[in-house]
Amino acid sequence: MPHLLEVQDLTTVFAGDYGSSVSVDHVSFHVDRGEVVCLVGESGCGKSVTSLSIMGLLGRGGAVTDGSVLFENKNLLAMSEKELDEIRGDELTMIFQDPLTSLNPVFTVGSQIMESIRIHMHLSKEEARARAVELLGQVGMPDAAGVMKKFPHTLSGGMRQRVMIAMALSCKPKLLIADEPTTALDVTIQAQIMKLLGELRREKNMAMILITHDIGVVANMADRVIVMYAGQIVEEAPVLALFDDPKHPYTRALLDTVPTIRDDASRQLMAIPGMVPENYDDITGCRFADRCPYRQQECDSPQELYRFEEGHAARCIVAFRKAGQVGREQ
């Protein structure tokens, strides 16, 4: 069976005042039906740009220069805006980090939810209203009918994000892209929203690309994890394999730098020295090499994604060679 979403060699370039810079560099991955794939990485690693490229929402300055995005075997990149609009908001939807800036301040919550329902499902106003109220109920909104008449600014952050989720779910999507949906929310509200997304995904067998930098959220939600660094995928693995046996030094460091509530007083956090390179197009070798404690000579040559086991790949020659020495080379 073909994958629900297949991204191949996606490359996105942003034009700036001083020439263009590659923000996403030959990224390939897939998402199956009903699967949650987490995209992890620090700001500027290209995870959000990847999702915007998939949705065709890059805006001015950004352009996809290479690759293809197959959604149910149709190439989204080759579609016209009109064809895209048929799919976007219907089978393929997205929710953003800050729900206040993604909601229109001058329309009521109800009219914004009803808009996409009416466009995609061709329902009458009354039917759309009933569906919108039902959706708000599904996302756990108390007093759904009353909220329909409210404006976004009168709602709390958690409520706004519920509205966004209701909008995203309005037309039974097959794939939901959630770009840091809980980063702006308090921890108790974050837990509510994550639980809701998990339930909805199970009920509707909806696939999800969850973009986050919270390792805890990854552990709780993901089936598979893709780690990005400086515009490239550096590791891809099923969630258990990634946490148990991270191959790439960056992934390992990322898991080690997170303080948790279970730490005792003696824990010393491992910090990654240095910072993410800004102009990473110029780096020919491994982009993490400058911060890496295991750096070797061959790290200066271009790195490919090495396959370790089924579904587990990492862009690190040193780790690959080490794995080969213990007899796992295939």
Binding site: E42, I189, A191, V258, P259, D264, L269, M275
Partner: protein
């Protein structure tokens, strides 16, 4: 090390938290901050936002107190009052035993005290003047407060840059030329430039990337050890707060609901809000994925008209009739709580904790070395029982 409230008994309302043989560096007593809400046709005060409503605590020299809670609970307001950016509506702040509100009347003295109380802000970009380069940003406060003279100031600045791990070449650069982590280092250098004793860190890492967060947290810990600093660490990232703090105070709607050693709070939370807060934090272990978590319903209430009685009761799974009517006092967790409970809430408690009175003996917990207080009679008992 500490003696409990019952022994020292200094609290106005029995809520003073820690007493030690010597004076705490910072002591806060019944601190309140109300902001008036204007409204009506002819503008007048229609109500108050009770951002901080009767908070007492103290921080010992060289220790870190972590202040946690959801946004809007008043934790940042407390930090701002401690460094004098806001004046308390009511209540007292003592710095090294001296009342800050009295010091404020003497400008010369206040100027001196101000250098001792510094702050590190959440967003290092908006707290650095974009028109000034790093040399100016660091030099001006030191010259004004006569910490350094014109001829020695550069040496001081270089010493600070070394301390926070910035290269010496950055002096002529402007804030926008730095990354978030570097800017936060500048913010820390500025706070350190006046040789402070007490620093309020207001969510210093929440705007930073994960790998940079660890760098800054480690830096703060090192500097604290090296310079003997006392810190108030305000944050909602509970992992980070756990990492740096010796004691933790949990706030909900302007009140402290639980206080104790970091290990105690994180391993044996007693107040239902603390329990819920910790339960909501996702654990970075995929094996716990399927674990059923009891999540809080609803959202934090309004601080304009906070709920009567215990402010947490509308969201509390253990709420009793008493919780809806009486404001709970902070009580020491341990032996006394079990007994008090039977007296005060009686049958309700037994219901909430699914216990019968014959097990009363099991509820008690050995008295701890340090103070652990919670403002909840119901689970104060519940938690104590779990421990037994």
């Amino acid at each position: 090390m500490y003696r409990g409230v019952s022994e020292s008994g200094t609290g106005r309302k029995g809520t003073v938290i820690v007493e030690k043989e010597n004076i705490p560096l910072i002591r806060v007593e019944d601190l309140k901050k109300y902001y008036s809400v204007k409204g009506g046709i002819i503008t007048h005060t229609t109500g108050y936002v009770k951002a901080v409503d009767g908070v007492s605590f103290s921080v010992m020299r060289g220790q870190t107190l972590g202040l946690v809670g959801e946004s809007g609970c008043g934790k940042s307001t407390i930090g701002r009052q401690l460094v004098g950016l806001e004046t308390p509506t009511e209540g007292k702040i003592y710095y090294d035993g001296a009342d800050l509100s009295l010091l404020q009347k003497d400008r010369k003295q206040m100027r001196e005290v101000r250098t001792k109380l510094q702050m590190i802000f959440q967003d290092p970009y908006s707290s650095l003047n974009p028109r000034k380069h790093i040399y100016e940003i660091l030099a001006q406060p030191m010259l004004y407060h006569k910490i350094a003279r014109k001829d020695t100031v550069e040496k001081e600045i270089l010493r600070l840059l070394d301390m926070v791990g910035l290269p010496r070449t950055v002096l002529g650069r402007y804030p926008h030329e730095f990354s978030g982590g570097q800017r936060q280092r500048i913010g820390i250098a500025r706070a350190l430039s006046l040789n402070p004793e007490f620093i309020v860190c207001d969510e210093p890492v929440s705007a930073l990337d994960v790998s940079i967060q660890a760098q800054i947290l480690n830096l703060l810990k090192e500097l604290q050890k090296e310079l003997g600093l006392t810190l108030l660490f305000v944050g909602h990232g509970l992992g980070a707060v756990n990492y740096v703090s010796d004691q933790i105070a949990v706030m909900y709607l302007g009140k402290i609901v639980e206080y104790g050693d970091a290990g105690e709070i994180f391993n044996h939370p007693v107040h239902p809000y603390t329990q819920a807060l910790l339960e909501a934090v996702p654990i970075p272990d995929p094996r716990e994925k399927g674990r059923e978590r009891s999540l809080l319903q609803g959202e934090i209430g309004s601080s304009t008209c906070p709920p009567e009685g215990c402010r947490f009761h509308p969201r509390c799974p253990y709420a009793t009739k008493q919780c809806r009517q009486e404001v709970p006092e902070m009580q020491e967790i341990g032996q006394t709580v079990g007994k008090d409970l039977v007296k005060t809430v009686g049958s309700n408690v037994v219901q909430a904790a699914a216990l019968d009175s014959s097990k009363a003996g099991e509820r008690t917990r050995t008295v701890q070395k340090s103070t652990h207080l919670a403002a909840c009679p119901v689970t104060g008992f519940h938690g104590a029982r779990q421990e037994a």
